[in-house]
């Protein structure tokens, strides 16, 4: 043991709102991304599955178009780009990593540590989501050539489309993030969200339009899908990218995305308040 004596004790720190804690939040996000790379083999496996899916979609839709030319209004080449982009968007935000982590923390009670941090729990959660996004995007950039080969990639149809795509994509990530946060918070009540997560992934991947463009859905289903937030996480930005959604219609879709961000944001805040009132920490 050393006899180093510290003469300077820390002065008492003042509380700060989350927007003045960028450093801390950035650090949380960075650690989350680093933790993803600790399991890079799993991540690569998931990416591989996604690439295979893109490839299969290309083959299936190619066969369909060959059998019935003009089955959809959108040209086949654009459709393949759409499907590639849509699947990349889904894959680039693996929110289930954060929900699984949180479920684990809640179930074994170590969530106590997240609750006694000088940075709020919700900002920490958002930072973690941003971290997964960053980590996944990094992997995607590396894998892009393979993805392009499996599916098909091209630049956005124009400068305006590129700008709108960027805005729409941001909203899409916001919506997906909020949905996953609400899903994770369910664990505060049920302690178990595995089944729910599976259901969510299944429903969301279909209704988001990552397999079949939402425009193809038949009447009633399409109406339902348009009233759900899932298509706003994938279909909208991917359609803007390939130009099948453009002009005022695209702006309207982005407006709707923003509305979803607000609605889900409020709902998540309400849920969080209720969760905090009934938080039960597991174990003695």
């Amino acid at each position: 043991m050393t006899a180093v004596t510290l003469t300077t004790d820390l002065p008492p720190l003042a509380a700060r709102p989350w927007w003045r804690q960028w450093g801390a939040l950035r650090h949380v996000a960075r650690l989350r991304a680093a933790a993803m790379f600790a399991y890079r083999n799993t991540m690569l496996l998931f990416l591989g599955v996604s690439i295979v899916q893109i490839f299969m979609l290309k083959k299936v839709w190619g066969a369909l178009y060959a059998a019935r030319p003009g089955v959809l209004a959108i040209p086949l080449a654009d459709l393949i780009v759409y499907l590639t982009i849509a699947n990349l968007i889904v894959w680039s935000f693996p929110t289930q990593i954060v929900s699984r982590y949180l479920r684990e923390r809640i179930r074994e009670g170590s969530v106590v540590f997240d609750l006694v941090r000088p940075v709020g729990f919700v900002p920490q959660l958002v930072a973690q989501l941003v971290g997964t996004l960053g980590g996944a995007l990094l992997i995607i950039v590396i894998a892009l050539p393979v993805v392009a080969l499996a599916g098909s990639l091209s630049l956005p149809v124009g400068a305006q489309a590129a700008g709108m795509f960027a805005v729409s994509l941001l909203c899409a990530y916001g919506i997906a993030g909020l949905l996953s946060m609400m899903l994770s918070m369910v664990a505060f009540w049920t302690l178990e969200i595995d089944g729910l997560t599976m259901l969510y992934v299944l429903v969301a991947s279909f209704l988001s339009g990552a397999l079949v463009p939402v425009a193809v859905f038949p009447g009633a289903l399409r109406t339902v899908v348009e009233w759900l937030p899932f298509q706003a996480t994938t279909y909208v930005p991917a359609s803007i990218y390939v130009g099948s959604l453009a002009g005022p219609e695209a702006w309207r879709a982005i407006g709707l995305q923003l509305a979803w961000v607000v609605i889900l944001g409020l709902a998540a805040a309400l849920m969080w308040r209720r969760a905090m009132r009934r938080v039960v920490v597991q174990g003695g």
Binding site: M1, T2, V4, T5, L6, T8, D9, L10, P12, L13, A14, A15, R16, G23, A24, H27, V28, L31, A34, A35, A38, Y39, E108, G109, S110, V112, F113, L115, V116, R117, P118, V119, G120, R277, V279, V280, V281, G283, G284
Partner: protein
């Protein structure tokens, strides 16, 4: 530093139904069961004090700690920690406390230990040079250099606990809550932890609330014990006073010189004058006599001198009452002896 007054915490949960469709009926029932985990608990802790907060499993210790850290909101009562109501002002409270829950870890499971410590330094806004100093010092004191770069999931329990302790104290919190910090550790690791806690307390005047089932932790570290059971405070005072009050007897073991000469066996009447009594034993060794006496009333030296004057004594030893025995009795009886 810490003021707890009339603290009560009730938990409610749906009443578990029995009989047909019990599971389903449990889910839909509106009937609730109430359990009182903490029942009208009050105490004050002064700045720089080390308090052992002990009690049997399920006594309400962890619930109290969780309220003091701001995680749980009490049903009634007030708590003030360093001038802050913990659950109302979580962030300000968080900045002044460090927490160890021995059965859980605050470290990032998949990342090297050092990464977690780095993050904590950022979260608590430590100036870089102070962090470096603290870091080097803790790595040295807790002997962590060897496993700093290993992912936490690969650490042994002892190593992980050292990491957790370092994480809780790195930013020099004014108050430290240690909930079973030595659980599952071997004797050497326990000693390391205790030395470390003691040194931090001595150097920075850190206030420590220690929950443990290892009474040796309390004897080694705490100048005060608060004993609770069924959510109520049973005792609040020094460990010595606890022993004196509930196990006042010391035992003097005397070996009478067996030099062939037949001496009269000692009787109660012989020793009663010195305020002692003979502890009955199985008589296997007739030369060995156990005398019980009250430490507060009779000095051991007087007793020995008086005995030596009448008997030829080969050897004496004194057995002190141990705190663990006292605590065990209280737990078993589920209440204080009157």
């Amino acid at each position: 530093m810490i003021r707890v007054e009339g603290l009560t915490k009730e938990f409610t949960r749906p009443k578990r139904q029995t009989g047909h469709f019990a599971g389903l009926r449990t889910m839909v029932t509106r009937e609730v069961e109430r359990t009182t985990a903490v029942d009208d608990v009050s105490f004050d802790v002064q700045s720089g004090e080390m308090v052992g907060y002990i009690g049997p499993n399920g006594a309400g210790k962890s619930t109290t700690i969780k309220i003091m850290t701001g995680i749980l909101v009490p049903t009634s009562g007030t708590v003030e920690v360093g001038g802050v109501v913990p659950w109302k002002d979580r962030q300000r409270n968080a900045l002044q406390i460090g927490v160890v829950f021995g059965q859980r870890t605050q470290l990032w499971w998949d990342l090297p230990l050092k990464d977690s410590l780095d993050l904590i330094a950022t979260l608590y806004r430590m100036p870089p040079e102070l962090y470096r100093k603290q870091f080097d010092r803790f790595v040295d004191m807790l002997d962590m250099a060897e496993f700093l770069d290993r992912p936490v999931r690969q650490l042994s329990l002892g190593q992980r606990m050292r990491g957790d302790l370092a994480a809780a104290m790195l930013y020099q919190p004014r108050i430290l809550y240690l909930d079973e910090p030595t659980i599952g550790l071997d004797v050497v690791a326990k000693a390391t932890m205790r030395d470390f806690i003691e040194e931090v307390n001595r150097e920075h005047g850190t206030t420590v609330v220690l929950t443990t089932h290892d009474i040796a932790d309390v004897e080694r570290l705490c100048s005060r014990v608060i004993l609770i059971d069924h959510g109520r405070v049973l005792y609040d005072g020094t460990p010595a006073e606890l022993k004196l009050r509930y196990a006042p007897h010391r035992t003097l073991i005397v070996r009478v010189a067996g030099d062939g000469e037949q001496t009269d066996p000692m009787t109660d009447a012989d020793v009663a004058a010195f305020g002692a009594e003979i502890v009955p034993d199985d008589g296997a060794d007739p030369d060995l006599v156990r005398l019980r006496f009250e430490g507060g009333r009779t000095a051991a030296s007087d007793l020995i001198a008086a005995l030596a004057a009448r008997y030829s004594i080969a050897d004496v030893s004194i057995v002190e009452p141990d705190l663990e025995g006292v605590v065990r009795q209280i737990y078993l009886r589920q209440g204080l002896p009157e």
